[in-house]
Symmetry: C2
Subunit: 179 residues, 2 copies
DNA sequence: AAACTATACGGAGACTTCCTCCGGTTCTAC
DNA sequence: GTAGAACCGGAGGAAGTCTCCGTATAGTTT
């Protein structure tokens, strides 16, 4: 990669991240390009579509979540560790309006890298919690991540109620039926 | 309302419903107008924006769900009645790709009528199930509807896996934790 | 039934955003 | 230096949303 290309690539990534946080992932790509000081053509050459850019931005952010999972794998309470981690995932997704929606749309594999990493980290926590008999068998990490994303989505569509995420997560964890 | 206006209003509603089912609620409004045999201006006069049209379409569909709720309120198992109804709500939302997303976005009140009716019908079922001691206290119908919509959203983004809705609903009902 | 007026119609067009294409520029290796 | 591969950038086509206003018509009045 030529030095100028690399420079533009990095600036685009940084500007995209900021723009996603401030305006959500629906922000106009032209704005990102302008702020990065490049033309829209350059943006599209590096990132053929919006999701490719999103994937590139978020894949970097996952390190924190993966680290968190590695720490939590040694926590005392395996089930609690899983839930703490899921809440972290939710909190991260919530930083970027629109991200959870994109993660959910897995029919096309544009953000596959991101999702694969999450499944790996979360899968270990889930397996441990199940082995300890604290979490039902038959539950799969993919479904837990979907549910988490869906709940983030709810929460981000109800910005006036800050507690939405916590309430719905607790609903999912404890169930609706009386235990 | 003038006779021609009423005629166009009805045709638009019918065409919109069909278009929403076939192409999802993101369908181009121009297409709806063309199929209804009217100009785009006429569509926008009757329905100032897309959500106003969606609300008008779906408010009619709610009769079936309200009827279902009235029947279920007399069912033997109060908790089961609630879940059966929630599944019906989900099945209905799933007919129209994009509807659940719109229902979730409650920050603006454009589809308020629809949501108010659902809360009323579901609230009665929930109250009965809670009174019977089968469903946890503290749970609110608004949250259950949000969770249901969120799960529909997941399911509609995973069209290759037809069981997604059922799996996630069962997760929410039974919870993640063991007993 | 003719004239009148409030109401409704419809599509041109301004605006926005996405994405492509290609002439011109710049970096790098020799 | 210089050749040419790699890269840049913005004009512009396509699609969609929504507005505006001249034209057409339904319903009323005489």
């Amino acid at each position: 990669m030529r030095a100028d290309a690399q420079r533009n690539y990095d600036r685009l990534l940084e500007e995209a991240k900021q723009a996603f946080i401030v305006h959500g992932t629906d922000v106009a790509l032209e704005d990102i390009a302008r702020h990065a000081g490049v033309g829209i053509g350059t943006l599209y050459r590096h990132f053929p579509d919006r999701y490719s850019l999103m994937n590139a931005v978020f894949i970097r952010e996952l390190d924190a979540l993966n680290d968190r999972a590695r720490t939590l794998i040694a926590a005392d309470d395996p089930a609690d560790a899983l839930f703490v981690w899921l809440r972290s995932v939710g909190a991260h997704s919530a930083m970027y309006r629109g991200l959870s929606s994109a993660i959910l749309a897995q029919s096309d594999g544009r953000m596959l890298q991101c999702k694969a990493q999450l499944r790996e980290s979360g899968g270990a926590l889930l397996a441990r919690a199940q082995k300890a008999g604290a979490v039902r068998d038959g539950i799969e990490i993919a479904d837990l991540l979907k549910l988490t994303s869906a709940i983030v989505l709810c929460a981000e569509k109800n910005p006036e109620d800050r507690k939405t995420f916590d309430r719905l997560m607790s609903l999912a964890v404890n169930g609706i039926l009386v235990g």
